[in-house]
C-alpha cells in the first residue's frame, strides 16, 4: 500500500471512497459520503497526524428476507484514513452529519500556518 502524504493525494486505489476537500480562510473542510449511517455509528479521530473515519453499522440485518433484482450499493462498514498536513490544529476538529454527508472541519494552526506575501524588487 502506498502512503499518502498529502490531502491532495489522488491515488484512487488507496482513496477509493469519494472525498471532497475544501480550503477556506479558517482551514479545511472534508466531505465524506456516508449514506445510511446514523450519527452514533460514525467515529472520527486523529491518530499520529492521521485523520481516521470509521463507520460501523449497528445492526446489519434489515429484518425480513429480501430478494434483490438490482443491487448497486451495499451497507458495509467503512474506514478512511487521511494524512494531515503539519499546519492544522487537531484539537479544533469538529464534525457534522447532514443527509448522508459527514463534514469534518479542521482549522489551521495559527502558529504554523504562515501566509506571507513576498514583494518583488
Amino acid at each position: 500500500m502506498r502512503y499518502s502524504n498529502s490531502l491532495l493525494d489522488l491515488n484512487r486505489s488507496y482513496q477509493n471512497m469519494p472525498l471532497n476537500v475544501l480550503k477556506n480562510e479558517k482551514g479545511y473542510v472534508f466531505e465524506f459520503i456516508v449514506p445510511g449511517f446514523k450519527q452514533e455509528e460514525l467515529n472520527v479521530m486523529v491518530e499520529d497526524r492521521n485523520l481516521i473515519l470509521k463507520a460501523e453499522r449497528a445492526n446489519e440485518e434489515k429484518g425480513t428476507k429480501q430478494k434483490y433484482s438490482q443491487r448497486s450499493f451495499g451497507f458495509g462498514n467503512l474506514t478512511k484514513k487521511l494524512r494531515l498536513p503539519e499546519h492544522v490544529d487537531v484539537d479544533g476538529l469538529s464534525a457534522k452529519l447532514a443527509h448522508g454527508i459527514l463534514k469534518v472541519e479542521l482549522p489551521f494552526d495559527s502558529k504554523k500556518h504562515i501566509v506571507r506575501t513576498i514583494s518583488i524588487n
Binding site: N20, I33, R71, G100
Partner: protein, 146 residues
C-alpha cells in the same frame, strides 16, 4: 414545480416542429437530452411488497420529488441547478462528488398496491416501499380433514 411529463408534452404539441420550438425556446420544457444522472439504487422484493432504495447523499427531503403517473414512478431532483447551494466560502482542492440534477423512472409491477406506496428519506437514502395488493399475497387455507 414541473409536473408535466414528456408524454403530456408530446400530446399537447400540435406538430413535431412545435415540439421542437417549445423545447428550444421555453424554459419549462427542458429537452430530454439534459445530462441527468441516474442515482444508484437497490431494488428488492419481500414476501409482502417491493422496495426501492435510492442513494441520494447531500439532498434534503424538500429537494426530491416522488410522483406516480399510472404505474410509472418518477423520482427526481427539484432544483435543476444545485451547484449554487454547495458552494461555500473557500475553494475545493479535491472534488470527487457533487450534487447534480437526477431523474430516475421505474415501471411498477401490476401486483403492487400503488395507493399504499410510501417514501421515507433517511440519512441520504430514499426508501420507497410498495406493498403487494392483497389478492397477490399467498393465501393459506387450512383444510379440515373429515
Amino acid at each position: 414545480m414541473r409536473q408535466v411529463s414528456s408524454i403530456n408534452r408530446l400530446a399537447n404539441s400540435h406538430s413535431l416542429m412545435n415540439d421542437f420550438l417549445s423545447e428550444f425556446f421555453n424554459d419549462e420544457f427542458k429537452p430530454m437530452t439534459t445530462a441527468v444522472r441516474k442515482p444508484a439504487a437497490n431494488i428488492y422484493q419481500t414476501e409482502t411488497g417491493f422496495g426501492i432504495d435510492i442513494l441520494l447523499p447531500g439532498y434534503a427531503k424538500e429537494e426530491i420529488s416522488v410522483d406516480i403517473d399510472g404505474r410509472h414512478l418518477t423520482v427526481k431532483s427539484l432544483e435543476a441547478d444545485t451547484e449554487k447551494q454547495t458552494v461555500e466560502n473557500g475553494k475545493y482542492i479535491r472534488r470527487d462528488f457533487r450534487k447534480s440534477a437526477f431523474e430516475v423512472k421505474y415501471i411498477l409491477p401490476r401486483i403492487a398496491d400503488l395507493e399504499k406506496l410510501e417514501a421515507k428519506f433517511e440519512n441520504g437514502i430514499l426508501l420507497v416501499s410498495i406493498p403487494k395488493a392483497e389478492q397477490a399475497l399467498p393465501k393459506k387455507i387450512n383444510v379440515e380433514i373429515a
